[in-house]
């Protein structure tokens, strides 16, 4: 159960990361441009970029986009990793409970043997 939930969480966590990664250059399902070409074309229409054209405004905008994209990807990746750690921790806790239960069974068995030994000795 925990493993399945972890699988689902990983799937859900990877989705925004993949979307962020693809959103930069991949076109949308309706034929729209990716975010980077869209950004470049908008600055190109204003003559701020193109062949033999290099403006500081465009570079700043591109760097700003890159920082935001990196931040979003970082957050998404961190969130996914922490969520997966939670599942790992839960899994370790469940395993510990199982091991504790097995140890309890062994202790109860030894105690029962002790009680049987006392009952055996009490037979007269």
């Amino acid at each position: 159960m925990n493993a399945y939930e972890k699988f689902l969480a990983e799937t859900r966590g990877q989705r925004p990361i993949l979307q962020l990664q693809e959103a930069a250059f991949t076109t949308t399902p309706f034929g729209g441009l990716g975010e980077v070409p869209k950004l470049t074309s908008s600055y190109a229409r204003r003559g701020l970029t193109g062949q033999n054209v290099s403006s500081g405004v465009y570079k700043n905008a591109l760097e700003s986009y890159a920082r935001n994209r990196a931040r979003q990807l970082g957050y998404a990746t961190t969130d996914l990793a922490e969520q997966l750690r939670g599942f790992d921790l839960r899994s370790a806790g469940l395993r510990q409970n199982m091991e504790r239960g097995l140890s309890d069974l062994e202790s109860i068995k030894a105690q029962q043997i002790s009680e049987d030994a006392k009952a055996l000795l009490n037979l007269r």
Binding site: K59, G74, S103, S107, S114
Partner: protein, 381 residues
């Protein structure tokens, strides 16, 4: 302890030889001649009747004497036998006591051995149980957090670096943001790893605690087994002591009962002897078995110059002609106790049908030289 039996006295009616006759007997030497009626003139029929009665009385007396003697001898034999300790009974009591004590001690040995065997079995079970527990705990130590994966810091890839470089923008502008994100990711991973370390420590502490608990449980179980063993052993010992005490008490009671029975038997036989003597069917007082008989020294008679030892038995009196077989035991007793008495006085006493007490008085007076019982006279006392 020997018991000296004294003769008992008779019923005066038993010596009713004269039948209270008012006739004055003739002065004869034997004292019995007057019964013949030859000199009294009272009639031959009465004389014959009295003679017949005397014969019957004599026969009865003889039977009583013989039967009494036989009964006396038989009773004395029984008494002698009864004075011996009940060796068979006491031996049986001792034997039973030894057997019972042996049985109890054997039971004690068996019970203690059984308890010891069970203790060994219980200890082996307990040792094996807690040994297996320890082995299982050691082989299956909790390692859930020990084996949990530690967190690795996230490294964010800069996929736009090449494009930015182509566009003339510097990819290095993104690096500060990447460094910040990586630091945050590293901090998160470090926190997670710290948490894992804490949990691993608790896990190890729990394992050590459980092992200690198993060890304490095993020790406690062994101590409980020892306590049960001690209790059971003490119970067996207490039961054995009680059983031995009961056996001793029962044996003592049995010995006392046997001794009481022996004494009661002896007393009954002694009472029977006393009854025989009291009835006077035995000729003389007979010392009880085992007692010392005393003999009187010989004395001289008062009338003759020749010395003759006084008679000590009725048979001697009979042999000397002092008494007849019909003489009552009381009269014989009086003669034996007073060897100097004049047999004539005794005959007179017979004729007068006097009581034993008066006869003693007469004997005493006779010994003083006063013959108060003269034939043909009526004496009133």
């Amino acid at each position: 302890m020997a018991v000296i039996y004294s003769p008992t006295w008779f019923n005066p009616g038993d010596t009713n030889l004269g039948a209270g006759t008012s006739a004055t007997p003739a002065n004869t030497d034997s004292g019995y001649d007057w019964l013949t009626g030859a000199s009294t003139g009272t009639g031959s029929s009465l004389t014959a009747y009295q003679k017949a009665m005397l014969d019957l009385k004599a026969a009865e007396t003889a039977r009583l004497a013989t039967g009494g003697q036989n009964a006396y001898n038989y009773t004395v034999d029984l008494l002698n036998a009864s004075r011996q300790p009940f060796a068979g009974t006491l031996e049986e009591i001792n034997k039973q006591e030894q057997e019972q004590r042996g049985f109890v001690q054997q039971q004690q040995t068996n019970l203690l051995q059984q308890i010891a065997d069970r203790l060994a079995q219980s200890q082996a079970l307990t040792t094996a149980g807690y040994g297996n527990l320890r082995t299982a705990l050691e082989q299956n130590a909790p390692r859930a957090f020990q084996e949990a994966q530690g967190a690795m810091p996230t490294i964010t890839q800069n996929a736009l670096a090449q494009y930015m470089q182509a566009q003339g923008a510097s990819p290095e502008a993104v690096q500060p943001e990447l460094n910040r994100l990586n630091a945050a990711a590293a901090g998160s991973a470090a926190n997670y790893n710290s948490l894992l370390n804490v949990l691993r420590g608790a896990e190890q502490a729990g394992q050590a605690s459980r092992l200690a608990e198993a060890q304490m449980g095993g020790n406690l179980a062994q101590q409980q087994l020892q306590a049960i063993y001690g209790t059971q052993t003490a119970g067996v010992e207490r039961g054995v002591l009680e059983a031995l005490a009961n056996i001793a008490a029962q044996s003592s009671a049995a010995r006392i009962a046997a001794e009481n029975a022996r004494r009661q038997r002896s007393e009954a036989l002694e009472n029977a002897l006393a009854a025989l003597l009291a009835r006077g069917v035995v000729a003389q007082p007979v010392p009880p078995p085992g007692s010392q008989t005393t003999t009187q020294p010989p004395t001289t008679t008062r009338t003759g110059s020749t010395t003759q030892a006084p008679a000590t038995t009725s048979q001697e009196l009979l042999d000397r002609g002092v008494i007849s077989p019909q003489t009552s035991p009381e009269i014989i007793e009086a003669i034996l106790s007073n060897p100097t008495i004049d047999p004539g006085i005794v005959s007179a006493a017979l004729a007068q049908n006097i009581s034993p007490q008066l006869l003693d008085d007469l004997v005493n007076r006779s010994s003083m030289g006063t013959n108060l019982l003269m034939p043909g006279q009526m004496y009133m006392f």
